[in-house]
């Protein structure tokens, strides 16, 4: 019947051939689930993260997006104290026990174990012909941390939809419920059971504002750029990080006699960061399409009033293999300068600075991420992908900060991590 009708239609319209119809019903549901493993070597942080994003499309391009993430974190993380030629003991963050670090080893706090639950909800809808309004909510809970946030943005198309200008903000109110209470900055780690320098819950507010432009340059090239501003106020310390107080000549940690119940074998002071941080960042990205292949390159420059400057270069190249799979190599290079108050240790012979932290993430370091993603379409048109990446970070402590024996030790050990992610997406 179709063939007879087609022939009759050709005769009616006076044509000999018709272009075949190309139509699909748009799916209403989009389910995207991924399982991510992140593992640092030498038994440092391990994270197993399950993430699910569900998007529902409503009439008139309105969408509701719900996200759920569950993280299971375990492993050890540097406490901030320096290596010593003798074994060292530390009080656990809870104040209810102690642990010993063998001579010559980097002090790691192995009590790091947490489960994080995060939810996000977002609503997006067109406003008028050219506008797109988005609003969202986010919350996450860890044992010692509660985050709640709201966000909104507006994007407007100009110039035959070749130019999109957007502005948005996000505001977060977080509360830090440190295990054992937040320590008073620059006070000493105390013996087991002594919580006299601990105070209650702390909080911080973070405001992010972003302005962006994206521009279609040609059929094959899309570029975008944005400026973002971030202002954090409140408790910005890591309540578990300490600095070793060292002899001004030898550079060794000042010894201390632990109490009967156990306690620190040296003088370790809890870190102290400013209660304010202002960041500015500029981001540019270009996506170039060439015969099915897509080159996606981006660069970010970030600077803040803690005097950390960072540069990130990210390049990925998506290469189709046959009609239903692709391979995507990815390389990311990151470099940052240390924060103005970054200190490997604190010199007992000099007055204490107002702010100090030995957190390696505030130090001077470079990092490279390199990996490969392979994605394919399943028989029932669902998307699957697997991504394997290696992360390596190496940092240096400024030579001027090294005191006495410190110069012969590895003060900023390299960090290596493996990232494996499996994703599955289906539409209904």
């Amino acid at each position: 019947m179709s063939a007879t009708l087609a022939a009759a239609t050709c005769a009616l319209l006076g044509t000999t051939a018709m272009t075949p119809v190309d139509a699909q019903e748009e799916p209403k549901w989009d389910f995207n689930t991924s399982l991510l493993y992140y593992g640092e070597d030498e038994n440092r942080v391990q994270d197993l993260s399950l993430k699910s994003i569900i998007r529902r499309l409503f009439a008139d391009d309105r969408t509701l997006t719900l996200g759920l993430t569950v993280d299971s974190l375990t492993g050890a993380t540097p406490s901030g104290a320096i290596r010593q030629d003798v074994p060292q003991s530390f009080t656990r963050p809870s104040g209810s026990g102690s642990y010993i670090v063998p001579a010559g080893e980097l002090p790691l706090d192995d009590t790091f174990k947490d489960t994080r639950l995060a939810i996000t909800a977002g609503w997006q809808q067109p406003t008028g012909e050219k506008g797109l309004l988005s609003a969202g909510f986010s919350a996450s809970k860890e044992y010692d941390y509660l985050h709640t946030g709201v966000n909104a943005s507006y994007a407007h198309d100009f110039n035959n939809r070749n130019t999109t200008v957007s502005a948005g903000f996000a505001f977060a109110k977080d509360s830090i419920e440190s295990v054992g209470g937040a320590p008073i900055p620059l006070t000493s780690m105390l013996d087991v059971g002594d919580i006299s320098n601990r105070v209650g819950d702390q909080d911080k507010d973070v405001l992010d504002v972003v302005f962006g432009v994206s521009q279609v340059i040609s059929k094959n090239l899309l570029v975008q750029g944005n400026y973002s501003f971030s202002q954090a106020d409140g408790y910005l310390n890591n309540p578990y990080k300490v600095l070793s107080l060292v002899d001004g000549v030898t550079g060794d940690t000042l010894p201390r006699i632990p109490g009967n119940e156990g306690g620190p074998s040296g003088v370790f002071l809890f870190e102290s960061r400013p209660d304010e941080r202002t960041q500015h960042s500029l981001y540019t990205q270009a996506k170039y399409y060439m015969n099915g292949k897509v080159l996606d390159a981006s660069y970010r420059y970030m600077t803040d009033d803690w005097e950390i400057d960072s540069h990130t270069l990210d390049v990925r190249y998506r290469w189709p293999i046959g009609g239903s799979s692709y391979i995507e190599p990815h390389v990311r290079y990151y470099t940052q300068t240390e924060a103005e108050f970054y200190r490997l240790s604190l010199d007992d012979s000099a007055p204490l600075p107002q702010f100090a932290s030995s957190d390696y993430r505030l130090g001077n370091f470079d990092a490279i991420t390199a990996g490969l993603k392979y994605g394919w379409k399943t028989r029932n048109e669902n998307d699957m992908s697997i991504r394997v990446e290696w992360y390596t970070q190496s940092g240096t402590v400024p030579a001027g900060q090294l005191i006495g024996n410190q110069a012969s030790r590895d003060n900023y050990p390299d960090l290596n991590a493996l990232i494996v992610q499996f994703s599955y997406r289906f539409l209904r």
Partner: protein, 275 residues
């Protein structure tokens, strides 16, 4: 065309959009003037007032009548351009006012393409019979206008005559033309089609029906019985290469009543059937 008609162009300037719209509007008016059964003096009026005399028709009318004849054949008489006179008995106003069998029988004597002599651009009908190209006209107009828009510009365009629509090609500023499929009830406006090439047409009107003794009589009439097709879907939307094919497939499916879905599934065309 009895409905809002629009032309959308994707890209190009105001001047181009105006030029294409004018071309399309002129063609739509031309087809309406020529084939509307409501206007005096046109070819349809001449046929319907021929009182049994043969009427010579032009080539375009001939193509439409050939097409109608083919549809009559492939639908085994279900699609019949002479069935319009049944409207004298059926008024679909939502009431329970169904006609008497005697009234229907009376009219049925003047229905049936098999009673028409049609050859060599010459049509002869028995007195009292009428033809109505309303079941083909709008879809035909969309396809004609689409061809005109395509020859006038490379800028992609969509021609939409009251929901029967066709596109000249995929848009440039987005991945596809997005068309919402409206239907009655809760499911309304939930479905959306990404159209890059081809056409969509919808048959059926959820508001036009009669209700009698709990039975819903749709406005789809079967010319072979003179009665409303039992259990016809409230509307059917079909995607096809051309608007004419989409429209005819949805009409033919309507005539199948209960078996509409089965019929559509066998045609291997993307479709939406609502009951």
């Amino acid at each position: 065309m009895g409905s809002p008609c629009e032309v959308l162009t994707d890209g190009g300037d105001k001047q181009l959009a105006g030029r294409v719209s004018l071309l399309v509007a002129e063609e739509a008016w031309r087809i309406e003037d020529k084939f509307s059964r409501y206007l005096d003096g046109n070819i349809i009026h001449r046929i319907n007032t021929s009182q049994g005399d043969p009427v010579e028709v032009d080539a375009e009318t001939g193509h439409l009548l050939d097409f109608a004849a083919t549809l009559f054949d492939i639908s085994a008489g279900g699609f019949d351009i002479t069935s319009g006179v049944l409207r004298a008995a059926w008024v679909f106003d939502g009431t329970d006012n169904i006609p008497a069998q005697a009234d229907i029988d009376n009219i049925l004597g003047r229905v049936g393409w098999q009673h028409v002599t049609w050859a060599d651009l010459r049509l002869t009908m028995q007195p009292g019979m009428e033809v109505d190209l309303g079941g083909i006209g709008k879809e035909y107009a969309v396809d004609r206008c689409m061809a005109m828009a395509r020859s006038a510009t490379n800028v992609p365009a969509m021609i939409n005559f009251g929901g029967d629509l066709a596109v000249t090609g995929p848009p440039v500023t987005r991945e596809a033309w997005k068309v919402g499929i409206e239907g009655p009830g809760v499911d309304a406006a939930g479905k959306r089609v990404a159209l890059r090439q081809g056409a969509l047409a919808t048959s059926g009107d959820a508001r036009r029906f009669l209700l009698h003794d709990g039975v819903r009589y749709s406005h789809i009439l079967d010319p072979r019985t003179g009665w409303s097709v039992p259990d016809a879907p409230s509307s059917i939307t079909v995607a096809a290469d051309t608007c004419t094919q989409a429209g005819m497939m949805s009409t033919l499916a309507m005539l199948r009543g209960t078996e509409a879905e089965q019929f559509l599934a066998a045609q291997a065309l993307l479709h939406w059937c609502r009951r």
